[in-house]
Symmetry: C2
Subunit: 334 residues, 2 copies
């Protein structure tokens, strides 16, 4: 699809879906996808949890969703799915399953159409750029589309005023990411040189940033770099995982601006006392000019995710292991 | 507390709580704890998801629960917490927080009383034995108490008939675990000898068994053995993590009897095709005589967890690294 049209197409698609919300009762939202597409839904669940006393939200892997067969799924459900090329078989099956249950089915994909689209009531085509590259329309990236739909739902159903604040703040996303790229590229190069031979790198975060840590662990480190990893929840860290820490064990800690930050700060203190190989990515160090004060915390994961992508590119370069190399994905049957 | 009294005390405590359920509206259940105490709540959420179209369930780390401050938490909420010695500060805080919101607060602990008890409306003292040892009252182990409360809730509110089936089936837990210990001890010794020098061991499962995989990864491998680990969801495996697999990468796969088993079977096929260092623990190999057909799938995690504890003991022995050794927990400030 031509890049120039992404913006207005996505806007039109979202407007139609918000219009559809008006005529339906929606009691719960199920965010359903696989891997990286699932990880990007965690911030939206965080938003629903914090903002609504009527609507519940769940994040499920596509097949887990189908087999688990949650009994609260039905005619009053909104199911939001995502698959980059719209061809993930489990996600297409999950859309079919949700439709059969009477739910409203909305699917996000980068491509214009795909099998997933055929099983959905509505689709949104999001904007996208490869890791580390600047997206011409980051205000319509997958994470941003999810917030537009989620905050839009709560705006229509409950008058939540953060929808408009998201829309306005997202106008500044491009400027924020441009500055971030300049700020972190040299740092990422140095990090990559220092850590390129590590067999294991842990990631850690909490709240709205946990999904970003999960995405970097499973999609970048494990999938694209074949480095052992595990996204540790910053609150769970102290109840088992922290015993693995010593001066040779690398950790990447994300520090956001949401309400769960005290957990990340506690983890930081411990990491600094007992670890040495640390990368701390703190949203407080980033210029977020243009983001509304009230939704800034929710937008941080989108920015930290971009920062991590800058690191991914440099890690791949330093390790001579391109991000596109796979041994199994799309190559062998599974 | 004297072991002989656990059984009748816990039964009386549970009966009082079920009686309390009768007079209250309960729309949602929050399972709140840290680390291993949190991991054991996953099967109960699976049960609620599958069995009730009215009640929703969430599992949260204690501090995540407090800071996230879910807006659906209120007077119509049941909050079930757990802390082995009732002294986990975050969990005590979470109980206080939940009470302030008007929720019904029920806490599980092994000890008779503790700070957590002071902040709770009701407590249940569960039965417990150290890893690998036979519990004199496994029908009242923490997992079992959680099912009694959860199925009890759905029995009282919705007439769910699985409560009685749980109660009857749990009578056979002791016999099942005794056979399991004999069946797996030599296998565990051999596994421990073969894998004692591995720096990383992954665990994998789905559905009601995922929490058990998580518990083994963070509490046994990372905390008690200082071995790198990560509990991979069997459906997510194919969307990133599987790229880490080669013939040198050890995986422990749990195979249960619940509806998500096809995901575990798919993972098994792939592991066998592309990996070599595999431990497959399949509930189909275990004699579950006495478990009712309809709740057998839900009880499998309790049995697989015991099997994993048998492996934990042998791993510790072979590695000359007692399960009790810590470098940080209860030793340094955090």
């Amino acid at each position: 699809m031509a890049i120039a049209s992404v913006c207005s197409t996505a806007q039109t698609q979202i407007d139609e879906i918000l219009e559809e919300f008006k005529g339906r009762t929606i009691k719960n939202v199920f965010y359903v996808a696989c891997g990286g597409s699932s990880a990007l839904m965690y911030p939206s669940k965080y938003f629903v949890d914090r903002e609504s006393s009527n609507v519940t939200a769940e994040v499920y892997n596509s097949n887990e969703f189908i087999y688990r067969d949650p009994q609260t799924l039905g005619e009053n459900s909104l199911v939001i799915l995502c698959s980059h090329k719209g061809k993930t078989p489990e996600t297409t099956e999950a859309a079919k399953f949700a439709k059969k249950k009477g739910a409203l089915v909305v699917s996000l994909m980068y491509v214009e159409t795909a099998p997933l689209a055929d099983e959905s009531d509505y689709i949104v085509n999001y904007s996208w750029a490869p890791p580390g590259e600047l997206d011409p329309h980051p205000e319509f990236m997958n994470y941003a589309v999810l917030y537009r739909l989620t905050a839009g739902l709560l705006y229509i159903k409950e008058g939540n005023d953060k929808y408009e604040k998201f829309v306005n703040s997202l106008e500044s996303m491009d400027a924020v990411l441009r500055k971030v790229k300049i700020q972190y590229t040299e740092k990422a190069k140095a990090y990559a040189q220092e850590y390129k031979d590590e067999p294991t790198i842990y990631t850690m975060a909490s709240g709205s940033n946990y999904g970003i840590a999960y995405s970097f662990a499973i999609c970048i480190l494990m999938e694209m770099q074949w480095i052992n990893s595990h996204a540790i929840h910053a609150g769970e860290f102290f109840h088992g995982p922290f015993e693995i820490l010593d001066e040779n064990c690398p950790f990447i800690l994300l520090m956001g601006l949401d309400e769960t930050r005290p957990m990340e700060e506690r983890a930081l203190k411990f990491l600094q006392e007992h670890g040495k190989k640390l990368l701390i990515l703190d949203a407080k160090d980033i210029d977020l000019t243009g983001f509304d004060e009230e939704v800034k915390k929710y937008l941080v994961p989108l920015v930290l995710n971009f920062v991590l992508r800058v690191y991914a590119v440099e890690l791949a370069e330093a390790r001579n292991h391109p991000l596109e190399v796979r041994r199994y994905m799309f190559k062998v049957p599974y």
